[in-house]
Structure formats: C-alpha cells, structure tokens
C-alpha cells in the first residue's frame, strides 16, 4: 500500500500559475480552508477557480479572489459575497455562472470521462445564448461540456492512508465530484486512520481517485460556526 499522507508543500509541488483549480465546499462546510491558505501562501496567480460559491468576504476562496489571484471564477451563486460581486461588476474578475446542479453535473462528467451532458435546464431562458443546442427525441437540449481541473482541493472528515475519504453531513456537497475531476487531487482530512479502518461500504471517495492526503493538525477558526448564520 502506498501511503498517500504527505506534507502540503509536497502535495502542491506540481501546481503552477495559471492553472484551473476546483475547490470543494458549499459555504463553510466542506471548504478546504487549510489548502486554500496554502495556495495563498505559495503565491499562485492567474488561477481559474471552480467553486459552488466564493465563500463570504474575507473567508476561504474569497481571500484568493480579493488578493487578485483569480482571473476567472466558474460558479453558481455569489449571493453571500458582495465583495466578489463588486469585483465582477468592476470587471476585476470574469465570472461564469451555471445552474447549481448543472455545475455539479459538468464537474461530475469531467470526472467520469464524458465529453459533456445534455440538459433542458434553462433551455427557454437567456442561458441558451451562445450554447450548442441539439435535438433529441425527448426535446431540445443544451450541450454542456464536461469540466475538469488541473487540481482539485477537497475537505474530508476522515481519510485513511490509502486516500479513501468520508465526508460529514452537508460538508459532502461538491467534494466527491471534484475528487474525481482533476489531474491532481489533494484532500485535507480532519482525522487520518489506518488502512482498513473505514468500512468499504461507507467510503464516499475511493482512494484510487486521490493523489495526496493532508492531515489538518488543528482546525483553523474558519472551520467553525459563522455566528451570523445562527438563527
């Protein structure tokens, strides 16, 4: 068995400026804050970022964007991040929006080695503009090309040394999809266990999809509860 647990610097050794980076998470849950901090620290620029949203101002990938490291953002919704919306409006960053589940399917298709999917979502809206439209027996559909990245950063609750991952509650979200859809897949995990400790029926992402596992030694404050979202 190859032990996939390594250091952050080793895991990110192959990353270069200008790459396409997928980042898991939907809000705080599942966002790999430690790996994002590492991208910041290592000073990568001109990145294309794929993430469901842009976290909130001052948090997570928003820091990368605010520091001008991201030239293009492929996402679904920025409703909770006025800062990034302002940057988009000022054309400091290019933003491509997709319906949330279609973004998920495009990433999943990339991971599954498909060229794309065909969907009727948005077919009678402005979303059809500029898209390839085809006819099937079931109706007219938009062809959405698969989306892959050079690197995927994901957050897991547990990992074993073979790279098998388990996510927790709503922290699963885009993580298992992105963990299949990049040439280099780096997972951070809150807990690392020995091989064989995770029952094989309970693994969400098989280790064969994962290149490197990073142990989160101590949870940064960012991983905690955002008090302004407690009702």
């Amino acid at each position: 068995m190859i032990d996939k647990v390594t250091t952050i610097d080793n895991a990110l050794r192959g990353v270069t400026d200008g790459q396409v980076v997928m980042v898991g998470g939907f809000g705080v849950p599942g966002t790999p804050f430690l790996l994002i901090e590492s991208l910041l620290r290592l000073n990568f620029v001109e990145l294309t970022l794929i993430k469901n949203e842009a976290n909130e101002a001052g948090l997570g990938v928003s820091k990368l964007i605010e520091e001008g490291r991201v030239k293009r953002l492929i996402t679904s919704h920025l409703g909770l991040n006025g800062t990034v919306i302002s940057m988009m409006n000022a054309e400091d960053i290019t933003v491509d929006f997709f319906p949330q589940g279609i973004l998920a399917e495009k990433i999943r298709a990339g991971g599954a080695g498909l060229l794309g999917i065909v969907t009727d979502i948005g077919i009678d809206t402005i979303l059809r503009q500029g898209k390839q439209i085809i006819k099937l027996d079931s109706g007219e559909g938009i062809v959405e090309p698969a989306l892959r990245a050079d690197i995927a950063l994901v957050h897991a609750a547990r990992a074993d040394r073979a790279g098998n991952l388990v996510y927790e509650k709503s922290a699963r979200n885009f993580n298992p999809l992105m963990a299949t859809a990049a040439d280099l897949v780096v997972a951070e995990a809150e807990l690392i266990v020995e091989v064989g400790e995770i029952p094989p029926d309970q693994i969400h992402t098989p280790g064969a999809f994962v290149d490197h596992v990073i142990k989160i030694e101590e949870l940064l404050p960012e991983y905690g509860v955002l008090q302004h979202h407690v009702r």
């Binding site: 939907f26 705080v28 919306i85 589940g101 999943r108 709503s170 993580n175 979202h229 009702r231």
Partner: protein, 217 residues
C-alpha cells in the same frame, strides 16, 4: 394569528403541503413555512446542498459546523434524514422526485412565467438552484409580496426581466391574494381579509378571473 405580511404568506403557504411530500423551501419567506405546519403533517424537507430530511434551525450553541441549509443557516435533521452529494441532490429535483417547491419572485406573468434570478446591470448574484427548482419541481408555489418595495405590481402580463423558467408556476401566494395559474390565465382563488377585490385588481398588472368559489384567508 398571521399579521406580519410575510408570516401571513407563509401561514397560507403551509396549507399547500400534504403528508408524504418531498419539499424544497427557497430562501426568504419559504423558510418561515415550517413554523405554520400542522403537527399531523409529515413531510421531507430537501435542501439542495445535499440534505434530504432537513429539520428546524439550530439554536445558538447547538449549531453544527458541518450542517447548514442552502441559504447558509445552521439547521438540524430529522430521523430518517440522508446526506448526499450535490449531483444526487439535484438529481432528486430534476429527476422528478421533488413534489413541491416554494420560491420567491421578482416578476410573474399570467402564463406562469417566473423571473427571480437577475436584474441585468443591478442584481446578478448567479443562478443557484432556482432554475432547476422552478423548471422541475412537480408543483411550484410562489410566495412573494404582491408588489415591489416601491409598490409596483410583480404580477404582469409578461415578465420584463430574464426568466428563471417560463410557464412553471402553479400557484401564487401573496399577502393579498392566492392566485392559481390556469391554462386560461390567472384565477383569483382567495383574497386576504385585509384587502378588497378592487385593490387586488389594481395591484395586479395582468387579467384576473375571479373564482366562483372565491374565499378569504
């Protein structure tokens, strides 16, 4: 009981729910609906970030850092809940397993068109789950104030804003009226105790036929 306009809407919307349904609540007014749900009704709430069986909001001190709804609020789950990834979560919506979706609106048309995601040049936070919910929920109920904050009608002959989906709305619930979208146009089914027919017609910029069984709420 329901005096605040938003609470009145949510209170009325709760009556659209029947036991056994799988339901998605949009952000805003829809999140108020569960408060008004009769205790003998048992449904499954879906949150598009991967929760099937969402429960109520977590109280301060009980929030779980790994458990939010699609709006970002910390929630609980009910017994029998399941977590899933974003692809399966939206498979549920697009695949036809979502019985009922409640969404807000910027504009609505007499044909049941919905616009609620973009005001070009002013408001463009992205699409999120709105298009899939609007287009694919088996039944779509819109909960919205009858007019904009400036008093302009939201219900129009045709939407001026880019659509979320055409011809998708089944029922519109506002603080003033309950309006059904039929193939022949909008049908006023119920009118709020706090208003009158003339006011509703004046604040609606589309033809309204009045139901033979018009009632109050």
């Amino acid at each position: 009981m329901c005096v605040d306009p938003k609470e009145k809407i949510a209170c009325r919307a709760a009556k659209e729910i029947s036991s056994g349904q799988v339901i998605n609540l949009g952000i805003g007014i829809p999140t108020l609906i569960p408060t008004f749900l009769s205790s003998d009704i048992s449904v499954t709430f879906h949150s598009e970030n991967g929760i099937i069986g969402a429960g109520g909001f977590s109280r301060s001190g009980e929030a779980d850092r790994n458990l939010i709804d699609a709006g970002g609020t910390y929630i609980s789950t009910v017994p029998g809940a399941a977590f899933c990834d974003s692809s399966l979560s939206f498979a549920l919506i697009r695949g036809g397993r979502l019985d009922l979706s409640f969404l807000g609106a910027l504009e609505l048309s007499e044909k049941g068109d919905l616009a609620n995601w973009i005001i070009p040049g002013k408001f463009a936070p992205g699409i999120g789950g709105a298009m899939e919910l609007a287009q694919k929920a088996r039944r779509l109920v819109i909960t919205t104030t009858h007019t904009t904050s400036k008093g302009a009608p939201k219900i129009l002959r045709s939407c001026k804003l880019p659509l979320t989906a055409p011809n998708c709305v089944d029922l519109i619930i506002t603080e003033l009226a309950v309006i059904r979208v039929s193939s022949a146009g909008l049908v006023l089914e119920e009118i709020a105790l706090e208003t009158d027919l003339e006011s509703v017609v004046r604040l609606t910029d589309a033809p309204l036929s009045v139901s033979d069984n018009l009632s109050t709420f």
